[in-house]
């Protein structure tokens, strides 16, 4: 008996799969499962976070529903995975944020955007908010740089702290001995596996989405989203360095590094999330964890909004729309940061930890 019903079901399935093993070549979940004969809650949470939801083991399984063994690994692991996010959330008091995640995220997003708009309006007069500002320091007419930096650093640091605390709790549960350290080699292997989405390929042919015909597009959209996010983050970091080290103030010309990085990233953050959303709409409902639809869509929407407002700001920054767009963009980014530890963003962190664990197990077994 496990802590939750979905873990009981995951245990049942892993017992079926362990006596079958036909899927062992498809991804990391099955070889990891084969290293065990019995499954603790931590083991099941580990396996759940190793799964990339490619769908292959559902389409390939002779026991998928309507077969009476009712084997649906992707869906079961998706639910278990989502429940693990809440179970390891820090502080515990906020783990409820996962239950109605779409709602929570949209409220936080709406509030932060509104706060920036009203904030800009309250601190500045109307003419500043709707004025045309150009040249270095234009953004800071609306909000002083130091205030912006302080606010976003605080939000970012909080998010980092909450994420580190959550993933520590997760790692404790999945490592043996409890709390055992991760070695550099395994971390490096996991970075490579995560960076190329090694296991999101249905065993080589691509991801299964709407039917038994594999396509690789979810992997492509995921790459666009992830690398788009990384590029945007890099753009912000470079801009911060420019500001403090070179005393160069934003906005920067279009050919300058922060803008180039931000533009590429922004494009990724627009196409990627749209693609993922469309794939989700088409996905066979049998593979979906419907209860977490809000969480997935909420996160996709936040990334999309961040990308879209950022790109709009770039294009319209020399017009009167700049003020409101800056407020929207900052609001979106702020909401993204503070909701990070309580939304779909954590899947990347937990999956990475699971990949480290897997790399470590492989090394010990070899």
């Amino acid at each position: 008996m496990h802590g939750t019903r979905i873990l009981d079901e995951a245990d049942r399935l892993m017992t079926v799969c362990n006596s079958c093993r036909y899927c062992e070549g498809l991804c990391a979940v099955f070889p990891a499962m084969e290293m065990r004969r019995a499954f603790s809650d931590g083991d099941l949470n580990y396996l759940a976070n190793l799964c990339h939801s490619c769908g292959a083991c559902y389409v390939d399984c002779q026991f998928s529903p309507p077969h009476e063994f009712n084997v649906n690994v992707p869906k079961t692991l998706a639910i278990a995975r989502a429940e693990s996010y809440a179970a390891y959330a820090w502080p515990r008091a906020l783990s409820g944020a996962f239950a109605r995640n779409g709602l929570v995220i949209s409220i936080v997003a709406a509030l932060s955007m509104a706060a920036f708009i009203f904030g800009f309006a309250a601190v500045n007069d109307r003419n500043v908010l709707f004025g045309v500002h150009t040249g270095p320091g234009a953004f800071y007419k609306l909000m002083p740089h130091n205030a912006m930096a302080a606010l976003f650093s605080a939000a970012f640091l909080y998010a980092m702290l909450a994420l580190v605390m959550s993933v520590r709790a997760f790692w404790r549960d999945i490592s043996t001995p409890i709390g055992g350290r991760a070695d550099g080699g395994s971390i490096f292997q996991a970075i490579r596996d995560a960076g190329e989405l090694r296991y999101l390929h249905g065993g080589g042919v691509g991801c299964y989405n709407e039917d038994e015909k594999p396509t690789d597009r979810r992997k492509l959209y995921h790459h666009l989203t992830f690398y788009g996010f990384v590029l945007c983050f890099a753009a912000t970091s470079v801009a911060t360095l420019y500001h403090y080290l070179l005393a160069r103030e934003a906005p920067y010309p279009w050919w300058d590094l922060p803008v180039v990085l931000g533009t590429l990233g922004g494009i990724g953050l627009i196409i990627g999330p749209v693609g993922l959303f469309m794939a989700k709409l088409r996905r066979d409902p049998a593979l979906l964890d419907e209860n977490r639809y809000g969480m997935d869509v909420g996160f996709i929407a936040m990334l999309f909004l961040t990308g879209l407002t950022g790109m709009a700001l770039l294009v319209l920054r020399e017009t009167a729309a700049m003020g409101p767009l800056l407020a929207l963009h900052l609001g979106a980014v702020f909401a993204l940061f503070v909701t990070m530890p309580y939304g779909k963003f954590v899947h990347g962190i937990y999956r990475f930890a699971a990949l480290v664990r897997y790399a470590q197990e492989r090394r010990t077994a070899a």
Partner: protein, 463 residues
Amino acid sequence: MSSKYDVLVIGGGNAALCAAISARRGGASVLVLEGAPKFYRGGNTRHTRNMRCAHDAATEILTGPYTEEEFWEDLLRVTGGQTDEVLARHMISESKDILNWIVEQGVRWQPSLGGTLSLGRTNSFFLGGGRAMLNALYLTAERLGVDVEYDAEVTDLVIEDGMFLAARLKRPIRGETEIRATALVAAAGGFEANIEWLKQYWGEAADNFLIRGTPYNRGSILKMLLDKGVQEVGDPTQCHAVAIDARAPKFDGGIITRHDSVVFGIVVNKHAQRFYDEGEDIWPKRYAIWGRLVAAQPDQIAYIIFDSTVVTSFMPTLFPPIAGQTVAELAGKLELDPIALEKTITEFNAAVRPGTFDHTILDDCVTEGISPPKTHWARKIETPPYLAYPVRPGITFTYLGTRVNKEARMLMADGKPTGNMFAAGEIMAGNVLGKGYAAGMGMTIGSVFGRIAGREAAKHARN
């Protein structure tokens, strides 16, 4: 979709799809009629894992070599010589090329991961298993323009003078119940899911058989063909049967109900008596004999009994073992006579001679002075908890079939080849397998003869 095809394929498994693809590549228009609904398409092929092919050198997926001669010797050994040598040798030689051909049809192999099965040299494993393999074949067939109908059970064949004319369907497809075609490929499996038919040879015992694979292989096409004068091959009581968990579903339990723990313990019947040498040969070579052995026991039930020292020596099982702290407690749970079981185990333990246990070879752990003996891997059963799996005969597939020649063309009762009827897979497996079985041969028979049947049928249709 036209109402007359060059080639009509009946069935939806490996043999059928290999035939359909090969006929289509040969330029024919092809219709596949699968009696099962889409999820259950592909009959027993859904449950397979690997295929046995000869090869002259190691490859990425196989250690090697596994020569034609060695394959032939393995076949000779398991069948005890009951095989058609010409056909068998032809199949073995064609199997070499099948390894590559099947990959060209989109099927992917998995690098042998070692694991619990020691078949890395002789057998190639499908990545994702048999259903993944089938999905790939269906995708290729559809891409090539093969028409496929599901829920399309063929209920009658119109055959005149050894010539196939048309097939009739139970459910009209697109307004038609009769499909005409220039050539027929019958690839509709054996009759293992037809308990009534099995009873003709096994009597009431067949009621206690469990069918490991599809409930849709009822042998209806085989019966029609035999009734219409096609020559029969094989002994109807011969089949591939293993001992599987008695708690498995009646049909379609698949691979996960098997037990490979026999060599680690003893097997008793419902009177708590041993009845066969559990240490005769290495699994999986001897894996296929236990189905028949259990079928011959009263009520077709037996119990594999072992103790807690060996639980991690074999594959994890779907159903957990039944456990008792004492032999008597275990006997109670199994509804066996406790005194009889205790006596059997005590006598067995007393007969065990010291040796060096090694389950990967025929070791020197033997019994002395009991009958039947246990000639290898004999160790005392004495460390509680005592454990047991109840087992019943699990029928994999039957060997009674239609006689074919090297072109996969069926022969009529008078020995003459039919004009336009071909057979592949389980439905003609008995040509090669008179009895016995070696892992992976079901798929070899289906792929090799399927490919030939499709090619020859297309050739006939386009003449």
